[in-house]
């Protein structure tokens, strides 16, 4: 079945350093979504990418959807302690499929 993988599983960075997490699907995706979950909290929707090669920015966060629509990345510039949490990507194979979540990347930021 469809699988969505993420790397790395864990990342520890010094505050101010950049951070990137990568999401890869075994099949072409209709869209990709990104969520953030703070420790002890619930996942919160960040953004959705739909078009091949799409790039979207939210302040220090940059999201990309690959040309083949099988991979995506989230890049955070100059991390802050407020960025701590687990970042999940989630993809839909077709517009009518359910969302499949990746296992997440846990980000720790050292002050």
């Amino acid at each position: 079945g469809q699988q969505v993988m993420q790397i790395p599983q864990y990342q520890h960075v010094q505050e101010g350093e950049d951070f990137t997490t990568y999401c890869n699907s075994s099949t072409t995706l209709s869209n990709i979504q990104w969520y953030k979950q703070r420790p002890g909290g619930h996942p919160v929707f960040l953004i959705q990418l739909v078009k091949s090669g799409e790039v979207k920015k939210q302040k220090r966060l940059t999201f990309q959807f690959g040309e083949a629509k099988k991979n995506s990345s989230l890049h955070i510039t100059a991390t802050q302690t407020t960025d701590v949490g687990t970042y999940f990507c989630a993809g839909m194979k077709t517009s009518y499929d359910k969302v499949i979540f990746g296992p997440g990347t846990s980000l720790s930021v050292i002050p």
């Binding site: 969520y35 619930h42 919160v44 929707f45 959705q48 359910k98 969302v99 979540f101 997440g104």
Partner: protein, 113 residues
Amino acid sequence: DAGITQSPRHKVTETGTPVTLRCHQTENHRYMYWYRQDPGHGLRLIHYSYGVKDTDKGEVSDGYSVSRSKTEDFLLTLESATSSQTSVYFCAISDLGGHYGYTFGSGTRLTVV
């Protein structure tokens, strides 16, 4: 998010007992989902609903049942709780089947002893 609430927030139960978790939404969204979250597994779909009395299985549905008698309520029942069902359970809602993202509840931490 204020539009979706889960109850209880925490529960400890004994092996073999039935347990029901409740998800209530005030957004009038058509789609509702139950996920479980375990370390190393991310979020796994248990069951989902696409309307009143319309439900379907997810990838880890064994040992679980659901009911949706009203748009706003989606119940998850563990028919006979086992220790492997110790987990954090999240309810989610969406208005277009996952397009434009899900809104998650705050979760229920269930411990089966």
